[in-house]
């Protein structure tokens, strides 16, 4: 009885043709000996590097700040660090709550490898403008605004300086990146992602219950209230309880950044954000089959923020995607312990280098 309906469902989903690419073999990191993980910044003296006169602080201060008007006039901030004779531009797209400043160490490592970095912050968080009067609330009106802002950044700020653009995106930024390469495939030449948010971990709630409650609340309100269990920003004080990194120095550095600058703090998610993120991440995980962009996806082995299924589906469907699982890593792989973070970053650079000189 249901066969005709299933056929119709398949037909509906098959309206859009996928590019005629067959699945390519995964990227061979061993074939590219350099750079080694030792070429990247060690965590041991991170706080000293960030102190007044420290190398990381000086590097950060050498960057060029800028901002532009995103969708609906929301201010989007960015910072550029230019390499001498850059191989390409790397656009850094952050995760939820993250400010540009969190990219300081990654930007320094990438510039040392010959890449100019263009870090932006997403609307409603970090150094960017807010859409609600309460700056603590994690809110977005439409998820596609993230994509439109990033597209505007690439086309008006990055490409006029550097036509070859790579993307390095984390978590929420990963979902934005996947949607971006789908809507604007010519924006970027290659994409690397850490823990992309292609399937949100809904905690103790079964997915049907969580999705139905969220949809109902978003239907019945403007969605600007905090989700269950969420609230205003509260400073983290307990390293063992953190869910994003095993690196004490990098966690301490992050807490210090947020302690020092109240502008970049952000609290929990609102219902509107959750509804938008659920729809966008669900949509994003199904876009792999339409992608022809070389893609490297890092999956954190101990992630409790996003689920692995969406990442695996996207990468299995995408003809040019390589999935690299980082065992033991929590969600923020680029803020992890050296042996996890620097191995990941060395692989990112090997992958980008291979796109420069295939």
């Amino acid at each position: 009885m249901h066969r005709p309906l299933l056929v119709a469902a398949v037909l509906l989903s098959a309206c859009r043709p996928a590019p005629p690419l067959s699945k390519q073999p995964p990227f061979d990191f061993e074939a590219h000996p350099t750079p080694s993980p030792e070429a990247f910044n060690p965590e041991a003296n991170l706080l000293a590097q960030w102190g007044e006169g420290g190398v990381l602080r000086d590097f950060w201060n050498s960057g060029a700040e800028g901002s532009f008007e995103g969708v609906d006039g929301v201010t989007i901030a960015y910072r550029v660090h230019r390499a001498v004779n850059p191989k390409a531009a790397v656009v850094l797209v952050p995760g939820r709550t993250e400010a540009i400043i969190k990219f300081a160490e990654v930007a320094r490592d990438l510039v040392a490898q010959g890449y100019s970095t263009y870090a932006l912050t997403l609307r409603g968080q970090g150094e960017a403008g807010r859409m609600l009067a309460d700056p603590d609330k994690g809110y977005v009106a439409w998820f596609d605004d993230y994509v439109a802002d990033t597209h505007r950044f690439i086309t008006t700020v990055v490409k006029p300086e550097q036509p070859r653009v790579f993307l390095l995106a984390h978590s929420l930024g990963g979902a934005v990146a996947v949607l971006l390469v789908d809507e604007h495939p010519d924006d970027v030449a290659a994409l690397a992602m850490t823990s992309p948010m292609l399937e949100i971990e809904l905690g103790g709630f079964p997915a049907p219950v969580a999705a139905s409650i969220a949809a109902g609340i978003c239907d019945a309100s403007d969605g600007s209230g905090y989700t269950l269990g969420a609230g205003p920003y509260a400073e983290e004080t307990d390293f063992p309880k953190n869910t994003v990194t095993n690196s004490l120095p990098r966690w301490t550095w992050k807490v210090q950044q947020l302690h020092d600058d109240e502008r970049i703090r952000l609290g929990g998610t609102t219902w509107r954000w959750l509804c938008q993120a659920l729809v966008a991440s669900s949509r994003a995980q199904g876009l792999g089959k339409f992608s022809s962009t070389p893609t490297l996806l890092f999956q954190a082995g101990a992630d409790t923020i996003v689920k692995p299924g969406g990442q695996e589906k996207y990468c299995a469907d995408a003809p040019r995607c390589t999935l690299s699982r980082v065992e033991g890593a929590k969600h923020e792989i680029l803020q992890e312990r050296d042996e996890l973070r620097n191995l990941t970053l060395s692989r990112v650079v090997k992958f980008f280098d291979a796109q420069v000189t295939p």
Partner: protein, 157 residues
């Protein structure tokens, strides 16, 4: 609050008036997560008792949208029914910025349709429903909800 007018409506209903073979009702509903709905239901009677219903429903809201066709069977010709529903579900409203995908969903429903009012022309519907959307990702592939509505017979034969 609702009980008194319901009792009055039920009391006003003539017990022995012959019922037609078919009635078409139009009405509205409220629910969760589909907040509002406009429905048109056709009821087929057998020996004066409702046996089958078919309906079309449009459930617009701020986010979730549903356009559906449903069918129901009244167990033992009583008010209770089990049914199925085919929905076209949009997880974003048509005015959303960015792509708006449309998914086909298949659903099951359990509920009751209580006939009230003069000549039983009013119908109060309460239903629990679940929808499986095979084309959607796992976090959004199943939606469950509740709806309550009222409709009125506008045609019969």
């Amino acid at each position: 609050m609702i009980a008194l007018p319901l009792m009055l409506l039920l009391a006003a209903a003539p017990a022995t008036e012959p019922t037609p073979e078919f009635r078409l009702h139009v009405g509205g509903q409220v629910g969760f997560p589909y907040l509002l709905g406009i429905t048109s239901t056709g009821t087929f009677f057998k020996q004066g008792k409702p046996r089958f219903d078919v309906d079309v429903a449009w459930e617009p809201s701020v986010q979730l949208q549903s356009y559906s066709v449903g069918g129901a069977y009244h167990v033992l010709d009583r008010a209770f029914f089990v049914g199925g529903r085919v929905r076209l579900v949009q997880y974003q409203p048509p005015w959303a910025r960015g792509p708006v995908d449309l998914f086909l969903g298949l659903g099951l429903e359990l509920g009751a349709r209580l006939r009230v009012g003069p000549s039983d022309k009013g119908v109060i519907t309460i239903a629990l429903h679940g929808t499986f959307v095979p084309g959607q990702a796992s976090n959004l592939s199943t939606l469950i909800g509740l709806s309550a509505g009222f409709s009125w017979a506008v045609f019969e034969r």
